[in-house]
Symmetry: C2
């Protein structure tokens, strides 16, 4: 019997008790003053975290729905688009564009490697006529964070393009400055760093994107951004929103601001570094390239002889620790530890301890404490006064 699971997948994330309590309120009329008051708080709050003064749109769907809304609003059938990808969610941008009849020019980096700004610059030079560029900020499937600021600069310098960024598992957990970095569309989802349950996608849409949107000719109705903008300006949404999730987002945002975004980002970074150090000491090989390791999810290849699914089952059943495996072509070949949103150093310590115990039980390595020692050294290097 597991008393309390330690849910360490890269979303959905655990809910802080404050968020749970905030969601324990009766439903309200989604077109009435009570919901407008919620929207009046969360729309500006999200804009602040996204670093934008552009429009913030909320839609009831998963992060993938948010990504699709960008394609449905910006791409016309037969149009050429550039997708720079390095993992499963980048591939999703390719599939989405193909589903809408776009001609996809794919710049594909090896999984575990970032998209190189120079490669992107070259593709942009070779295709001066292409208006739309799709990028993944944090590639959840490989635990890699692209250098979005650099990549966005390359796009901005290449001419009048519309840059669409998947920030589903990054915004709110690491710096992502939409306006300052020159991003036109930035997308996230409630179940990631926002500490709320799944159900709402957030799309920040800037002026260049609106201009493109007004000309694009793909079918859209539920995903239509203009209808969303018009209703959100009145404090409502065109179709019934996930009201309860919005209550959760409201409280999650309050917690982010109380902690301070700089400290939130620092907490994620410190925990990610300790996670990487621990996994490496345990015999795993870190998958994402050095310098690009994600602050929200750590990916690693198992030590020789370790069956990933046996490890995950043991962790779940005996220790109540739930981690993710690989996605797409890495299914069954990788572990991914999610550490975003409501995550403390103590949570990570539980996970690493359980992994070390499990490795001994699976006859891979003795549980001699090296994993936690390495994590402790990493934490000590950070010299953070408070780590809870």
């Amino acid at each position: 019997m597991i008393f309390q699971q330690q849910l360490r997948i890269p979303g959905p994330t655990p809910l802080p008790e404050r968020v749970v309590r905030a969601m324990d309120r009766p439903l309200v009329d989604h077109r009435g003053p009570e919901f407008k008051a919620v929207m009046d708080e969360i729309v500006p709050g999200l804009k602040k975290v996204f670093g934008t003064e552009s429009d913030m749109l909320l839609l009831t769907c998963s992060g993938t729905g948010g990504l699709e809304s960008a394609v449905a609003n910006l791409v016309s059938p037969g149009e050429a688009v550039i997708v720079a990808l390095c993992g499963n969610f980048g591939e999703r941008f390719v599939s989405l564009n193909k589903a809408y009849g776009a001609e996809v020019i794919a710049l594909e980096a090896e999984w575990g490697r970032p998209v190189e700004p120079s490669d992107l610059a070259e593709v942009l030079r070779a295709h001066p006529e292409v208006k739309l560029v799709f990028l993944t900020h944090n590639e959840t499937s490989t635990g890699l964070t692209n250098n979005l600021q650099q990549l966005a600069r390359v796009v901005r310098e290449s001419g009048d393009r519309v840059l669409v960024v998947d920030g589903v598992s990054s915004v709110g957990s690491m710096p992502a400055e939409m306006d300052a970095w020159g991003i036109d569309v930035l997308i996230s989802g409630s179940q990631k760093g926002w500490m709320a349950p799944p159900g709402l996608a957030f799309m920040a849409v800037g002026p260049r994107a609106w201009e493109q949107q007004s000309q694009a000719r793909s079918p859209r109705f539920y995903f239509d951004w203009a209808k969303l903008r018009d209703e959100i300006a009145k404090g409502a949404t065109p179709y019934t929103p996930a009201v309860g999730v919005a209550f959760g987002v409201q409280e999650g945002l309050r917690m982010l601001f109380e902690e301070g975004l700089d400290q939130v980002y620092r907490r994620h970074r410190v925990i990610a570094d300790a996670c990487a150090a621990g996994l490496e000491a345990a015999g795993f090989e870190l998958f994402a390239a050095d310098g690009y390791r994600s602050a929200t999810v750590t990916s690693a290849l198992p030590p020789d002889g370790l069956d990933v699914s046996a490890l995950r089952s043991l962790l779940r059943q005996k220790y109540g620790v739930v981690i993710a495996g690989g996605q797409g072509k890495m299914t069954g070949k990788m572990v991914r530890v999610g550490h975003l949103g409501a995550v403390s150093v103590g949570d990570l310590i539980q996970v690493l301890w359980a992994i070390e115990q499990a490795l001994e039980e699976l006859d891979i390595k003795p549980a001699d404490g090296r994993t936690l020692a390495a994590a402790g050294e990493s934490l000590a290097r950070e010299a953070t006064p408070a780590l809870a």
Copy 2:
């Protein structure tokens, strides 16, 4: 200060305490055994209520998203479709089809009147080549329930068509027998009779619809039914679902089955009849045609001199009673009282009492008890042993 709102719009509906408590559980891995256990209960449960052995699909979106998924999966650009409509949500089917480039043959009944089976038969005869027929079961905007069983029979007898039915505000609150009545696609949403918060749409899809789906050529990705079916067969969903809402649906279904579907339907009908009697006694003119009045929402035109928005504001601010106004072309001209999902006779009594008080305060009619007397007479005629 309003201690507890009486939320009587036609969705979102209030949550029973049992549902609230059931949702108070930690989030789980949406691809793990805990969520599979939820799916293993709610998928068969939903199928039972829908009266179908076909596939049950769940998607994180509003009811409109569910309707759009039908268009995205079934309609090809340039294809002719028949939409039989009698209100705002029927018009939504028209807009959705047009957004996907369909040529819409609209059979439009006057608002407040049902779609007549003979009119539908005529349109079907005139267009033998048209494969797709879209119908609204319960037209939430006018408080009218079409005779779906008859209309479906007309479609079935007209040849090999695919019948798509918007059952968003009907299924779970009134009889809707998908297989027995010959419906190919039936759609509902979690925030209606299911007593859960908004966030999940349910689409039941039968064999004729699957055949059409395999040939249709509209862009689709998030809404793609085949991907949904394949993942749901494994107890998961292709993209992160609204996990918390699924917990709520699970408990709501248990409550429906414990009460017994026949009694659930009877409770809705009895309360709707009492609501209509009360509103009529209060001087309102019932909007939906006699014999077609919805069991889930009652629509009525105000007595002379009554400003609907003044009434709604007073009800909300002084009595904590939230009712809906008109939609589309009836905005500001109508009241709609929602009574679906978690609704008891006591709830309705509160609403009618508040309306009577408010009418006196607005100098329309004295609060002489006639509204509640009429509701009481209606309830007495039903001779229901227990009405709580």
